[in-house]
């Protein structure tokens, strides 16, 4: 996987995740009851991520970044398909825990790839450029999704985001092939 491809990949999953995260709260609102439950849902996410980081860190060096990113993409693609089916608050809690694990995989891999590809002398420029594209993708996704939720149901955005994740997973495979050819 080359660096441009990585930016493209991160842009894609950035779009998918920004589609769901701001609006995700609407789902919790439909399912949950109180601010405390909001707090727990997000707290569980952060807490599981914290517990997973040491493990993921170790694996990253052993199995490689791309494998972990694949796990993230396909994991998220499948997980998002469960969201529309959540009707109880504990469903949301379970999903949040799983999202915490996958979120940690993504965050860690994002940084390890950057660390491996970015040349020290140009790190500022390169990481800056990386953030420009991923942020633009995220911004477009958030705004567009706002309109989507107005027209469609909240469930629809989970399906769309899931398809985007699946797409990103396929992109990773393709880059596999390209690398093999090279």
């Amino acid at each position: 996987m080359n660096y441009n491809r990585f930016i493209y990949y991160q842009g894609t999953i950035g779009m998918a995740s920004s589609m769901i995260f701001p609006f995700y709260i609407l789902l919790i609102k439909n399912v949950g009851n109180s601010y405390a439950q909001f707090g727990w849902a997000y707290g569980l996410f952060a807490l599981t991520a914290a517990l997973c980081y040491p493990l993921i860190g170790k694996y990253a060096d052993r199995v490689g970044d791309k494998t972990l990113l694949s796990v993230y993409s396909w994991g998220m693609a499948v997980l998002l398909l469960c969201f529309p089916l959540a009707t109880e608050v504990y469903h949301v809690y379970i999903l949040q825990v799983l999202m915490g694990v996958l979120g940690a995989v993504q965050k860690n891999s994002e940084k390890t790839v950057l660390a491996r590809y970015v040349t020290k002398e140009m790190a500022g420029t390169q990481i800056g450029r990386y953030h420009v594209w991923t942020s633009i993708a995220a911004a477009i996704a958030v705004i567009a999704t706002g309109y989507l939720v107005d027209f469609l149901t909240i469930a629809t955005i989970f399906y769309i985001a899931s398809l985007v994740y699946a797409w990103s997973g396929m992109q990773l495979m393709k880059s596999d092939k390209i690398e093999a050819e090279v």
Partner: protein
């Protein structure tokens, strides 16, 4: 190969999820369990023009669909919904058709709100004769619940309607007035959307006036005499409202009254004429929030209300502005709890003996969370088939905070039915737009013409094109 397998697996899970989701979506009982009335309607059709509405009714006649009619949907007894029916949303049908300055009339489409009318007639120095205390409701909705308000001089809402046009179940448009199609006219006012779609109505207006605010606090025993002597007998008193304490220490004992009297000097009207908008919503919202929590909160709320009322004594306000009461502070957003209203009518002379009995019911149920009780006056009026004002009555509006789970609902039902029994024992009645806690026999007692109402329904809408949950709950 592995990759194709992965993609296929994903597609399989996607289909599985979509299947379960759509199955869940079509299971109408599963949705919206936190609301008091979980109802799944098929579609919402906005009413935009007369021809479309006519077409809608004719199509429904062919397809057999049930229509329910909705305005702001603040009625709480399911008057605007029917399971798997089509809800006709009248809000977009909201034009002010004509203001006749000389004849002092206004003609409006039924989706317009009272606020819309106020904005249209205020520049002409005109004002509504009767409207609700809050102006957020649609004309069609208010007519269908035969609403009443603060005015004590102009009778009921039905007395101020000169004529209206109604789209009936046969798809025809009819003119109704106190002289033309009289029977249907008085069935549709307070008809809860069961006789047809009100298209537009013409109201008799009066002149906007400058009022001076008079406030007075007292014990409840003194209130009927105060009202008769200091309010009703005083020609300059035009609008009136009172509040009963909900604070535990003075529960249903202390009261304060606010009366709006024609100001001796009308020359200052232009200064007060501009329509006010809601301001400082956060302050009353905060105190009402305290009152929801516990008894101390209720004491604070009551004290604040009293202090505020003393503060407005002597203030000048235009009639149109009195009719623009704040309601935004009551908006309440909690999916586990909700707020419901009850309204009881009790003859003026029964008030003194009625209140202690009502208090006994409330004290027997310490968990019943009562947040506010306002008192208004309604003139005897039996125009409407379902008329609540069998005599000159005081109306008590109770704001209640309750849980939405089945036990909380059962608890509230019990208290409400007891309160209605007490009210009926004092020759009173109760208001129908609220949640269906009352029993059928309580409705029969409160509204002696109930059977006639449902017979009229069968006659004017033999195929039952217009139905709602209220109808299902209380039909014979």
């Amino acid at each position: 190969m592995k990759k194709i397998g992965l993609v296929l697996l994903y597609c399989f899970i996607l289909c599985l999820s979509a299947y379960f989701y759509s199955a869940h979506l079509h299971d109408s009982t599963a949705e919206a369990h936190q609301r008091l009335l979980p109802v799944k309607i098929r579609t919402v059709k906005p009413g935009t023009d007369e021809k479309d509405l006519q077409q809608l009714v004719q199509n429904a006649n062919r397809s057999g669909d049930i229509l329910s009619i909705a305005g702001m949907q603040h009625s709480q007894g399911g008057q605007t919904v029917y399971p798997d029916g089509i809800m006709v949303d009248m809000k977009p049908y909201n034009q002010i058709l004509e203001v006749d300055e000389d004849a002092k009339t206004v003609t409006v489409q039924s989706g317009a709100t009272w606020a819309d009318i106020q904005e249209a007639v205020n520049p002409y120095g005109l004002s509504l004769k009767v409207s609700q205390s809050q102006n957020i409701f649609t004309i069609g909705g208010s007519l269908s619940v035969n609403a009443h308000g603060l005015d004590i001089r102009h009778g009921g809402l039905s007395d101020t309607v000169l004529s209206m046009r109604v789209l009936t179940a046969d798809g025809e448009i009819r003119n109704l007035s106190p002289t033309e199609n009289k029977e249907l006219f008085y069935a549709i006012i307070g008809g809860y959307g069961l006789f047809g779609i009100i298209l537009d109505a013409t109201f008799q207006l009066t002149e906007d006036e400058l009022y001076v605010t008079e406030t007075q606090s007292m014990d409840f025993q003194d209130y009927p005499a105060y009202f008769k002597e200091q309010v009703k007998a005083k020609p300059e008193a035009k609008m009136h409202l009172a509040r009963l304490s909900i604070a535990p220490e003075s529960l249903l004992e202390e009261m304060y009254a606010i009366t709006y009297e024609t100001a001796p000097d009308q020359s200052k009207l232009p200064e007060h004429k501009q329509l006010k908008t809601e301001n400082l919503v956060a302050v009353p919202k905060f105190f009402l929030g305290l009152s929801r929590i516990n008894d101390a909160g209720k004491e604070t709320f009551w004290k604040t209300q009293k202090t505020y009322t003393e503060g407005i004594d002597g203030k000048l306000v235009s009639r149109n502005n009195v009719m623009r009461s704040d309601s935004e502070f009551m908006e309440y957003d909690n999916s586990r709890k909700t707020e419901v209203l009850q309204e009881y009518f009790v003859p003026v002379d029964e008030f003194e003996s009625y209140i202690p009995e009502l208090k006994t019911v409330l004290e027997a149920h310490p968990d019943f969370n009562l947040l506010n009780v306002t008192v208004r006056y309604v003139d005897q009026n039996d125009n409407a088939v379902l008329s609540y004002a069998k005599e000159d009555m005081f109306s008590l509006v109770l704001l209640i905070n309750q849980g939405t789970d089945p036990e909380s609902m059962a608890d509230t039902r019990e208290v409400v039915q007891e309160m209605i029994d007490v009210t009926l024992a004092h020759h009173g009645s109760y208001y129908l737009p609220y949640f269906g806690y009352p029993t059928k026999s309580q409705m029969q007692k409160a509204y002696p013409r109930t059977n006639e109402f449902f017979q009229l329904k069968d006659r004017y809408d033999p195929d039952h094109r217009f139905k709602n949950l209220f109808y299902e709950e209380y039909r014979p």
